[in-house]
């Protein structure tokens, strides 16, 4: 067994052990679905970042940066990471206040509507199962490349590892393993970037060489590579593309179930806000380091093919063997953390949102709050039986989902890029408008919310399907995510105008704005205010560092080359 094989087996074993440890503490439905609603900031922060950054971040986007588009990834990150703050402040903390078990469960309570819960549940099953497939294939591809295992073995290994601990430990295990994985891939990426820069001759040499890099001109210019031989013909076209996709993915970050459902597990609203602040800082730093490092690899080997395997090449050829194995484990960890989150959410939606009846939803909430149920006269034994039954159902549903995914993963043709591109943004189009309006609008009706979701979903899927079969190539201004959002809003506005908001819906909406007194504790507020302070300090440091170590040396290097070119031409 070589170092890579050993590293992968050991890391998978560790995740299973952590999952087993966390699973032992699962006693109630709330433990399984929302980790007992008692998670501290570090765990919510860890699971937010780990769920968002999958293998795509270290393969697809790193490959894009290797090809000369790191600045575009950086610009996109500027926009989409703001989704953390917007999502937490305007949706996430109210979602947590609702004490729902799942996000579709929140929509059911808010609009007193079973059909909205089912529709939202079905969109989770469709969107996240597709994403899960893509991540499973991505991880299997890495294992196949670095260990020589067959693809079938690799798929089975990956599937078994995330399915087993998710099945046993539910959200308790998922957020714990996510945080361990977040720490692993964050630290190894920083170490890897250091090795890459050293191998390329040190930072000042790297900036000088990349600024004047003839093979991929403009590789670290503010717009990246542009011109007739790449997708973006002009700098402005590149900027518009990155900005629009950044905003679109910002909506995904703000409302998608694999991000917002994390807030349901938070110990308090302050944990929601603090973890969103932390996630914003972590993502900005991680994307900066990862993508500049990937661009720098050009100076060591300009011929890596396919570009998506840049980090795999680095792990196998540049890093010391042990660190290379850790990097592979880190990239796999990014995929596994997303996969476990997706599997758990799909399982929860099947068992609770789709198969559970309206009465069962209420019953589940009663189970989730045994003290309240005891007040209403239910005996502890009966509650315990109910809890056990619902837990078994949830696990059985998750197992069925897992088995379906493994069958699809083995049978379907691989299309990682399209599935990722389709599944991620689906929720922005379908849920984005309804999520925010469910908190802030007094005029949105149940029908408006339902049709808003349905229209956003249909427009996004329809536009992507037309693009996939090659009938249409959508211009960046008509990105399916944003068109879906706009159509969803129009549908909500038109349908809501024709109906009336019921007293139940209105009362629930107003209830969401009643601040629990515990959240106003001055000491807790003071601690929360530390996080924005850190953001301001970190932001100033990043701006100063990027100016001193990137913008100014870049200008110097380019200015040094221009006279030489002029002399040669004359």
């Amino acid at each position: 067994m070589n170092s890579f094989q050993a590293g992968i087996v050991i890391s998978l074993g560790c995740y299973l052990a952590i999952g087993w440890y966390a699973g032992k503490r699962v006693k109630h439905l709330e433990d399984f679905f929302v980790a007992g609603r008692n998670a501290p900031t570090v765990l919510i922060l860890g699971t937010l970042v780990a769920s968002f950054m999958s293998t795509n971040a270290f393969m697809g986007e790193a490959g894009m940066s290797y090809q000369g588009h790191a600045p575009l990834v950086i610009i996109m990150t500027c926009f989409n990471c703001l989704g953390y703050i917007v999502g937490a402040v305007f949706f996430g903390r109210y979602l947590r206040r609702s004490r729902a078990l799942t996000v579709p469960d929140f929509f059911r309570s808010r609009f007193n509507s079973r059909r909205i819960q089912v529709f939202a549940g079905v969109s989770i099953v469709a969107g996240l199962s597709a994403y899960l497939l893509a991540v499973t294939w991505g991880m299997a591809l890495i294992i196949t490349e670095v260990t020589g295992f067959s693809e079938v073995i690799a798929i089975l290994m990956v599937w078994a590892s995330y399915t087993l601990f998710t099945l046993y430990s539910g959200s308790r295990g998922v957020i714990l393993t996510d945080t361990v994985m977040f720490l692993l891939f964050s630290s190894i990426v920083v170490v890897t970037a250091f090795f890459i820069v050293q191998a390329a001759g040190g930072w000042s040499s790297v900036i000088g060489s990349l600024a004047t890099y003839a093979d991929k001109p403009g590789i670290i210019a503010w717009h990246g590579r542009v011109g007739p031989d790449v997708y973006w013909k002009t700098p402005m076209e590149a900027l518009v593309w990155a900005s629009i996709l950044g905003v679109a993915w910002g909506i995904v970050v703000a409302v998608s179930p694999w991000q917002t459902s994390r807030y349901l597990m938070a110990r308090s609203e302050h944990v929601v806000i603090r973890s969103a602040c932390g996630a914003l800082i972590a993502m900005l730093l991680l994307y900066l380091v990862t993508n500049f490092a990937a661009a720098t690899v050009n100076l060591i080997n300009p011929d890596i093919s396919p570009p998506e395997s840049t980090m795999i090449w680095v792990s196998m050829n540049l890093l010391p063997t042990v660190l290379g194995a850790v990097l592979i484990c880190g990239v796999l960890a990014a995929g596994l953390s997303s996969a476990s989150t997706f599997l758990s959410l799909v399982g929860f939606s099947v068992s609770h949102d789709i198969l559970g009846s309206a009465e069962k939803s209420g019953e589940a909430n009663a189970e989730a709050n045994p003290e309240e149920s005891a007040d209403s006269g239910a005996s502890e034994d009966k509650l315990s039986q109910l809890q056990g039954g619902r837990l078994r159902n949830a696990r059985a549903a998750m197992l069925c989902v897992g088995v379906t995914v493994i069958v699809l993963a083995l049978l379907l043709p691989r299309n990682i890029y399209w599935l990722t591109h389709f599944a991620g943004p689906l929720f922005a189009s379908s849920w984005g408008v309804v999520a925010f309006m469910s908190i802030w609008s007094r005029r949105i009706t149940e029908s408006g919310a339902f049709w808003g979701m349905a229209v956003g979903f249909a427009v996004n899927v329809g536009m992507n399907a037309l693009s996939l079969v090659g009938l249409v190539k959508w211009p960046v201004m008509a990105d399916p995510i944003l068109v879906g959002v706009v159509c969803s809003y129009i549908a909500v506005a038109i349908v809501s105008r024709r109906g009336t908001v019921t007293a139940t819906e209105s009362d629930y909406q107003q209830g969401l704005h009643l601040m629990p007194s515990a959240e106003r504790d001055p000491e807790t507020v003071r601690q929360t205010l530390l996080w924005p302070k850190v953001m301001v300090v970190m932001g100033a440091l990043i701006a100063a560092s990027m100016t001193l170590f990137y913008a100014l040396p870049y200008q110097e290097a380019v200015a040094g080359v221009l006279p030489t070119i002029a002399e040669n031409e004359s």
Binding site: C78, V534, Y550
Partner: protein, 35 residues
């Protein structure tokens, strides 16, 4: 001012702006009487 300088400054200032806004929002929501 070059595009690279704007990119460098903007990347950090996004965090500064978000931090200042969050600071004000937390104070407004959790220290005032009304949500």
């Amino acid at each position: 001012m070059s595009g690279e300088l704007v990119l460098a400054m903007s990347y950090g200032l996004v965090l500064v702006g978000a931090g200042l806004w969050t600071w004000r929002r937390v104070l407004k929501d959790y220290r005032d009487d009304d949500d």
